[in-house]
């Protein structure tokens, strides 16, 4: 009995684009669950007139859709109330990012799914990667196509399972040409617009990376109020440092010479598929104004363009501050510029990289980026 359970299990089938087979795979797994004796019902299915998909749905009970009048047309939506009353053990719900017609209980389908999960119904759902809120801009820049229907990343992060339905761009285009994705009359338009090899390759990379990051970042912590060892006690620690993923920290100062360091750091971050933080440890006192303010603004702009995060920490102990930020941000890699020659008593201290390596957790690498001016002068 579904109502006896505390919370449903949410499994998301994630794809790079329409036609990769998310719905098909969801139905396939739903059929397997039904064959295993579970009570499975389709909450909402969008077969897109695909014969293979419709065939895969045969034999599964379908909860009748809700018909909603919007102006002069009637649209069909998932009937959340009917699904909750029916109360299957497992509901199959297509198109997680869908926006509901006005007048329904929730504005978005993922909210309907939230209610179903809260009622103890397990849910399988589908979504394309460009619908993820944090990736929406990136995907729009890569492909030139922006989708309006988005899903908060937290929905994906809180899912119990995320399954990537992967297909090579060439295979997807072959499916499209064979009329397995859209009706024949729409194929040419699709090939000329969204379904280009370069678009699909970029989307595939984003999808693969998203799932890889999801796997890495799912740190299981036990909620204090839940008993040990129960699945329901597992929560995603959104702010927990990543266990496997790389994260770069570049130590900058508000001066033009830091830009080369930032460029180097960004390039390394791109290669590693890592996030990049820029840190300026500002000595206490002294307002940020004049030329310094201009340079801070320039750094902020550069960070924004690159998708990096600029952190400004006011402290007189550089090494201790860096060590703290490294721990807080889960940094795996520190990049520093060449230090100026030490003067006076500072000559007695170890160089900055050595002090950083001692102060930061084991395994954090420190890399020194040479100052171009000095290198050029030596030639």
């Amino acid at each position: 009995m579904a109502a006896a359970r505390e919370h449903g299990h949410h499994k998301i089938f994630l794809g790079m684009a329409a036609g990769v087979g998310k719905t098909y795979r969801m139905l396939q797994e739903g059929q397997a669950e039904a064959d295993a004796g579970r009570d499975v019902a389709i909450g909402y299915l969008e077969p897109h007139e695909r014969a293979e998909t419709s065939a895969q749905a045969r034999g599964l009970e379908v909860v009748p859709r809700l018909r909603v009048a919007v102006r002069d047309v009637t649209v069909e939506e998932m009937d959340l109330q009917a699904l909750l009353v029916r109360g299957p053990e497992l509901a199959l719900v297509d198109e997680l990012a869908h926006t509901n017609a006005p007048g329904l209980l929730h504005g978005k389908r993922y909210e309907d799914i939230g209610d179903a999960l809260a009622a103890g119904i397990d849910v399988f759902s589908t979504v394309n990667v460009q619908h993820l809120e944090s990736l929406n801009d990136q995907v729009a820049e890569l492909t030139g196509v922006r989708v309006r229907e988005t899903v908060p990343d937290s929905v994906l992060a809180c899912a119990d399972e995320v399954v990537l339905i992967d297909l090579t761009p060439e295979a997807l285009i072959a499916r499209l040409r064979a009329g397995k994705v859209y009706p024949g009359e729409n194929v040419d338009a699709a090939l000329n617009n969204f379904f280009k090899i370069e678009n699909l390759a970029a989307l595939r990379e984003v999808s693969l990376r998203q799932v890889a990051e999801d796997v890495e970042s799912k740190r299981l912590v036990l909620a204090a109020e839940e008993p040990l060892g129960t699945r329901y006690g597992e929560r995603l620690a959104a702010d927990a440092p990543q266990a496997v993923g790389e994260r770069l920290l570049a130590l900058v100062r508000p001066q033009p010479s830091s830009q080369r360091l930032v460029r180097r750091a960004w390039r390394s971050a791109q290669r590693l598929g890592a996030d990049l933080d820029l840190l300026w440890v500002k000595p206490p006192g002294g307002p940020i104004e004049g030329e310094r303010e201009r340079q801070v603004t320039a750094l902020r702009q550069l960070a924004s363009v690159l998708g990096a995060t600029l952190l400004i920490e006011e402290h007189d102990d550089l090494v201790a501050t860096v060590a703290r930020v490294v721990r807080e941000r889960g940094t795996t890699y520190i990049m520093v510029g060449e230090s100026e020659p030490a003067r006076g008593l500072a000559r007695l201290r170890d160089p900055l990289p050595q002090r950083l390596m001692r102060a930061t957790p084991p395994g954090v690498d420190v890399r020194i980026v040479a100052h171009r001016g000095q290198k050029e002068a030596e030639r």
Partner: protein, 196 residues
């Protein structure tokens, strides 16, 4: 008496030395943060920058002890927020800025680079003009807007820029571009048309 005189002399020397040291350091700091910014802006678009324009800007900067501000102008589609991250554009801009900095450093010219976003190249340039202060702008003129700037853009720049604008006449060197893999040989002297 003699002891007192020696102590007084030592104190005077110490105080004088301290004052001179403090003054020289203060001057050094002022030199690091001058009140008047002396900068030459070199806006560019795409994946290459005209070598003639870069050479002209570098020569001027070298002669005047100015800082070169190469500025990559990026167009952000209206479907995206203007302040969003633009990794694809950044992937084009960063190697260009690296190549420019390499050439500038070889000639002893300081560089302070920018990447500016806008809905169009002109919009990006307008935002840069609003945000930064400089004394000169160097732009190459070209037929068919190969540099990203149309004739209208250049006329607009002459009206809008609160600085001297140096528009380089089209010349044979325009085809030679500076990119990430460019060598470091200098180009021919540009024929410049200077307009205030």
């Amino acid at each position: 008496m003699i002891d007192h005189a020696v102590v007084a002399a030592a104190l005077a020397i110490g105080l004088g030395g301290g004052y001179l040291l403090a003054r020289s350091r203060l001057r050094g700091r002022r030199a690091d943060h001058p009140d008047s910014i002396h900068q030459i802006l070199l806006p560019f678009t795409g994946t290459e920058v005209s070598r003639r324009a870069l050479d002209a800007a570098l020569r001027l900067a070298h002669a005047e002890g100015a800082t070169l501000m190469p500025a990559y102008l990026a167009r952000v589609p209206k479907s995206l927020p203007l302040e969003c991250a633009i990794p694809s554009e950044a992937g084009r801009a960063m190697p260009m800025l690296e190549a420019i900095e390499q050439r500038a450093t070889a000639q002893g010219v300081a560089v302070d680079a920018r990447v500016e976003r806008g809905r169009s190249y002109r919009h990006a340039l307008e935002r840069l003009l609003d945000r930064e202060t400089f004394d000169r702008v160097v732009v190459p003129a070209s037929t068919a807007g190969a540099t990203g700037f149309s004739g209208d853009d250049l006329v607009w720049l002459l009206r809008k820029a609160p600085a001297e604008v140096l528009i380089l006449r089209p010349g044979p060197g325009d085809r030679r571009m500076v990119g990430p893999a460019a060598n470091r040989t200098g180009g021919p002297a540009p024929r410049a048309s200077r307009r205030a």
